[in-house]
């Protein structure tokens, strides 16, 4: 029995390794996933890091601020300089410069500024910004708040000179208390890993499942093969094992790609300090393994009952979307894992791999329930696949 399964497995493996193009495509996908996520992480992480520095009011900012008419306002320039904002000459057309993104913000002091400031009239300062550029929002608000601070300082000074208690001019004392941490950004990305991995589980070996069943039928090599003295379920299982091997390879490739991606992102100082260890990835693979068997069984069933190669491809092309869906939703709406969820193939793996990646730890009982229930469902599906392989219809499809 084992010899027969091994012979079929061996043949399908050799056959598939020689299919360079399919193999290349199957292994390139996991890398593309990691690459995309890495680039996104580096890009968004870098942006957030810059903004986090700007948003953190305890850290002085250093910024070159273009000011038109700075010579009229030595007090303001001095104040800004004290606060780390260096005043530089403004571009000739401030509106154009900001619209084109050459400057985030430009202050324009109107001609009457000096006069009005001296005579205690409101001195007009025009702040030229582009609110549609989200990346500048924090910088702008920081500078505007500095302007307000300056205005408060001046008004307190004037009130003091007029003999009014300073505090009367400040009815509210507003303090920001931001509890968000930059880690939560990384958490968002870590939530994106499970759907990627689930997707790979369902597409990693799909071409092999199609080729060894629908393809074998369409090629006309199935009929003579079935005349050999080997029970059909062993034939099916040999093919399933080959599909399992190549899916597993794709998943391992993807996990390695993710690990490399995290290493690079952590080292490249984009401010995202998250790097799940190799042990986490090994556990993720353990959690994923029974789901691979589950996916392979479904693929073989679909390939067996489909009428043609094309029909199989259509069905199996849609298939990965369904199991990936819960994972995609959970990227945005995290679900708190309950034990019954561990009984549901795909769903439990999304939850567990997510927890692993976020370093929340998984309980042995959860892992055990997930692995055993998914393995049991996969086994039942293989029994069904074996029954389907035993039908007369196998040679015709349908």
């Amino acid at each position: 029995m084992l010899t027969n399964i091994w012979i079929v497995f061996h043949k399908e493996t050799i056959d598939n390794v020689r299919d360079r193009r399919s193999l290349f495509m199957a292994l390139i996908y996991p890398f593309i996933g990691a690459l995309l996520l890495g680039l996104l992480l580096a890009f968004v992480g870098g942006m957030f890091k810059r903004q986090a520095r700007v948003a953190d009011t305890t850290v002085p900012i250093s910024y070159k601020l273009p000011v038109h008419g700075a010579e009229m306002a030595p007090d303001l320039v001095a104040f800004l300089q004290q606060n780390g904002i260096e005043v530089v000459p403004a571009p000739l057309d401030p509106r154009r410069a900001v619209r084109k993104g050459n400057a985030d913000i430009v202050l324009v002091l109107t001609n009457s500024y000096e006069e009005n400031f001296k005579t205690m009239q409101p001195a007009k300062v025009r702040v030229v910004i582009n609110a549609s550029r989200l990346s500048t929002v924090l910088t702008v608000s920081r500078i505007v708040s500095k302007l307000r601070e300056f205005a408060d300082q001046v008004s307190r000074k004037r009130l003091r000179e007029l003999g009014v208690p300073q505090d009367a001019a400040q009815p509210l004392l507003i303090q920001n208390d931001n509890v968000g941490r930059s880690r939560s950004l990384a958490g968002f990305f870590l939530n994106m890993l499970p759907p990627f991995i689930i997707f790979t589980i369902f597409v990693g070996g799909v071409y092999l499942a199609i080729d060894t069943t629908s393809g074998e039928r369409e090629r006309g090599s199935l009929e003579p093969l079935l005349a050999n003295p080997i029970p059909r379920w062993q034939l099916m299982f040999g093919k399933a094992l080959a599909t399992f091997l190549f899916t597993l390879t794709a998943v391992v490739f993807q996990l390695i790609a993710f690990k490399i991606m995290f290493e690079i992102v952590t080292r490249s100082d984009v401010g995202v300090v998250v790097n799940p260890g190799s042990d986490i990835f090994a556990l993720a693979l353990l959690v994923a393994a029974p789901l691979i068997a589950f996916a392979v069984a479904i693929q073989i069933i679909v390939a067996t009952v489909s009428r043609s190669y094309k029909e199989t491809q259509t069905y199996l092309g849609l298939l990965p979307l369904i199991p990936s869906l819960p994972g995609m939703i959970m990227v945005f709406i995290p679900v708190k894992a309950k034990i019954w969820m561990m009984g549901v193939p795909t769903f439990s793996q999304v939850l567990l791999i997510g927890k692993l990646m976020r370093d929340e730890g998984i309980r042995p009982v959860e892992t055990l329930v997930s692995i055993s229930s998914t393995a049991a469902v996969a086994a039942l599906l293989f029994v069904l696949a074996a029954r389907l392989y035993d039908r007369d219809k196998l040679v015709f499809g349908g």
Binding site: T3, N4, I7, V8, K11, I14, D15, R18, D19, E216, R219, G220, S221, L222, E223, P224, L226, A227, N228, P229, I230, P231, D392, V395
Partner: protein, 244 residues
């Protein structure tokens, strides 16, 4: 020996075989002929265990094709109408795959493969991948893998289909040599001269029934025709009339 005993087979509402019975004996070449859609391929498929009969039995060397499927599979070599190859495997690997599935030991198998490559004059293509093989080359590979385990019973569906004259002749020689070794050969063909030249016995099937069964001479005598093609047309027409 191949025995078909009152075999019935339907696909949905279509009745492909209605109680087909005949015997193909050892040391004889039995031709299974009939018009398109008569049930030849279905009969063969039941014999080589790919389909199960609804009723009746297909028996090979005394083993039932359903109850003792693997015993039957060990004793048959099959060249189906569908003789697809794996484009990424070499000719030799095709034969090796089937030999291994038949449980042949490596030294025996490798020696047998060499023998077949020589016998079928395919040493030049033995280690080439089969992608792009001509019809003749494809047939040689399919024949080699069907015969690797030296089966006692062989079934060929249209073995010379699409072959050139010299290749067809080589196949006919091979079929005769198998018979001369005392083995049982059952083959389907449309080509009457070929059937006439090769067959010791002829079974004519029409609309899922056996309408004639005998040596070529017996059939000629019964139909009162000298040309086998005329015999064929007459028996098929008679058979149809009886059914109606």
């Amino acid at each position: 020996m191949i025995e078909v005993k009152d075999v019935t087979k339907s696909f949905g509402s279509f009745e492909a075989l209605h109680g087909v019975s005949f015997t193909a004996r050892d040391g004889e070449i039995t031709g299974l002929i009939g018009p398109n859609g008569a049930g030849k391929t279905t009969t063969l498929r039941i014999l080589y265990t790919v389909l199960r009969p609804d009723q009746g039995h297909a028996v090979i060397d005394g083993f039932d094709a359903v109850q003792q499927r693997q015993e039957v599979q060990r004793r048959i070599g099959v060249l189906p109408d569908n003789r697809g190859l794996y484009p990424r495997l070499t000719a030799r690997e095709h034969v090796r795959y089937y030999g291994r599935l038949h449980g042949m030991d490596k030294p025996v198998l490798e020696a047998r493969i060499d023998e077949l490559m020589q016998q079928l004059e395919m040493e030049d293509i033995a280690d080439r991948r089969t992608k792009g093989f001509s019809k003749g080359q494809t047939l040689k590979v399919a024949l080699a893998r069907a015969l690797v385990h030296e089966p006692h019973n062989v079934m060929f569906d249209e073995p010379t289909n699409g072959l050139d004259i010299s290749a067809s002749r080589a196949v006919r020689a091979l079929i005769r040599s198998i018979r001369d070794e005392g083995r049982c050969v059952l083959f389907c063909s449309h080509i009457m001269p070929e059937v006439e030249a090769l067959c010791d016995r002829i079974v004519v099937i029409a609309e899922g029934r056996v309408v004639a069964d005998g040596t070529p001479d017996e059939l000629r005598r019964e139909a009162g025709q000298r040309d086998l093609e005329e015999v064929f047309l007459a028996t098929v027409a008679d058979g149809r009339r009886e059914v109606a």
